[in-house]
């Protein structure tokens, strides 16, 4: 039986709260790094097909900056911090204090890429430590890996583990935005948390909810 069939709306609410706590901490961290106000949306938790997943950040072909971390520990999974190039550029410019940084020309400025990788590290780290405090599970992030590429190519990497068991993914998606109105809806950063299939049970159990209720 597909493990996803056992997920109820209570479970989804729990996952939503996880996204809320994790991304809330990450947004605070981001705000401190950039010294800017950051807006966060109510997390969106959905059971989606792989194709629907592609549409969550502007389609499979949309070029984004993606930081990927593998989560090890009691509830393994994959985590992505995805930024549209416009926003990644402006974050990097602030972090390295170089207004001329851009993704228009290759090879990219190494310092800039390293800064973005570190940003991903800080944010995912704060997301995960909040999650770990909340659930009392020990979680260890891997060293982050960065890729500037098509969203489909990046995210499909995180679906491999899941695709052994299912054609659907439970995705905890939280959007972040700079408070200024200069960005429209489609240019916003996303956190995607994709727990491994077996991790859901562990997460629910740690919070006192049975997976089979």
């Amino acid at each position: 039986m597909d493990f996803i069939d056992k997920i109820s709306s209570l479970h989804l609410d729990i996952l939503k709260e996880i996204g809320n706590i994790g991304a809330g901490n990450a947004a605070t961290a981001l705000s401190q790094v950039l010294n800017k106000k950051i807006d966060m949306k109510v997390p969106d938790v959905r059971v989606v097909s792989f194709d629907e997943m592609m549409d969550m950040a502007g389609g499979a072909e949309n070029v984004v900056a993606g930081v990927f971390l593998r989560i090890e520990g009691e509830a393994p999974g994959n985590m992505f911090f995805v930024l549209p190039l416009e926003q990644a550029t402006s974050f990097i410019q602030v972090m390295i204090g170089d207004e001329s940084f851009s993704f228009e020309t290759t090879p990219y400025n190494e310092i800039g890429l390293s800064a973005l990788q570190e940003l991903g590290n800080i944010l995912s780290g704060s997301y995960l430590s909040a999650l770990s405090d909340f659930t009392n599970l020990s979680l260890y992030p891997s060293v982050p890996a960065l890729s500037i590429d098509m969203f489909g190519a990046i995210i499909s990497y995180g679906l491999i583990e899941l695709s052994h068991v299912s054609d659907y993914a439970i995705v905890i998606n939280t959007s972040l935005n700079e408070e200024e109105e200069k960005y429209k809806e489609y240019v916003e950063g996303h956190f995607f948390l994709l727990p491994d299939p077996d991790s859901f049970q562990t997460i629910f159990k740690s919070l006192g909810v049975s997976h089979n209720d």
Partner: protein
């Protein structure tokens, strides 16, 4: 008569076939492999977006045959034959199988791109379909489009432009 050209889109872990003058396309190939099998004289082609190397890895009850290299290619060939392709004239072009992220830990999951390519090559060899052209490996995502009329595979890679194979 004005020919109306449609683009048939293939999603992730999905497959479809196309007849000229239409073209077939799949976007955002990372570690996945896009396999095109075609019969040039019949102007008929099929495309599968393969995600995993081997269907024996599955742990779920229902099997999505388009997801695995071994099952997808067999099914694709049988659909093509039902639509008039002849087995002796089938040829293949493949693209994808990149390694999107570089990790020091060389776990098997991290090598999924090269493993997908190996599995696709083996399956095509077993079916006696020769690979005419390929663009595999590396660490960039690809979007591919195949035109069964010209039998050219158009590959778009971020920052590396567009090429035809």
């Amino acid at each position: 008569m004005i020919e109306c050209k449609d683009t048939i889109k293939v999603g992730i872990a999905d497959m479809n076939i196309v007849k000229a003058p239409n073209v077939i396309r799949t976007s955002g190939l990372g570690s996945c492999v896009g396999v095109v099998v075609y019969d040039q004289s019949r102007e008929l082609a099929g495309l599968a977006h393969v995600m995993l190397p081997d269907s024996s890895l599955t742990r779920s009850g229902s099997l999505n045959i388009a997801k695995y290299a071994d099952t997808a290619i067999k099914e694709l060939v049988s659909i093509l034959m039902k639509n008039g392709a002849r087995s002796y004239s089938l040829k293949a072009k493949i693209a994808g199988g990149a390694q999107m992220f570089q990790f020091t830990s060389g776990s098997d999951m991290m090598r999924i791109g090269p493993r997908n390519v190996e599995a696709v090559r083996k399956e095509l060899a077993d079916l006696h379909i020769s690979i005419v052209a390929e663009d595999v490996g590396g660490n960039s995502g690809r979007t591919i489009e195949f035109n069964p009329k010209t039998c050219l595979l158009n590959i778009r890679t971020v920052n590396k432009g567009i090429k035809d194979l």
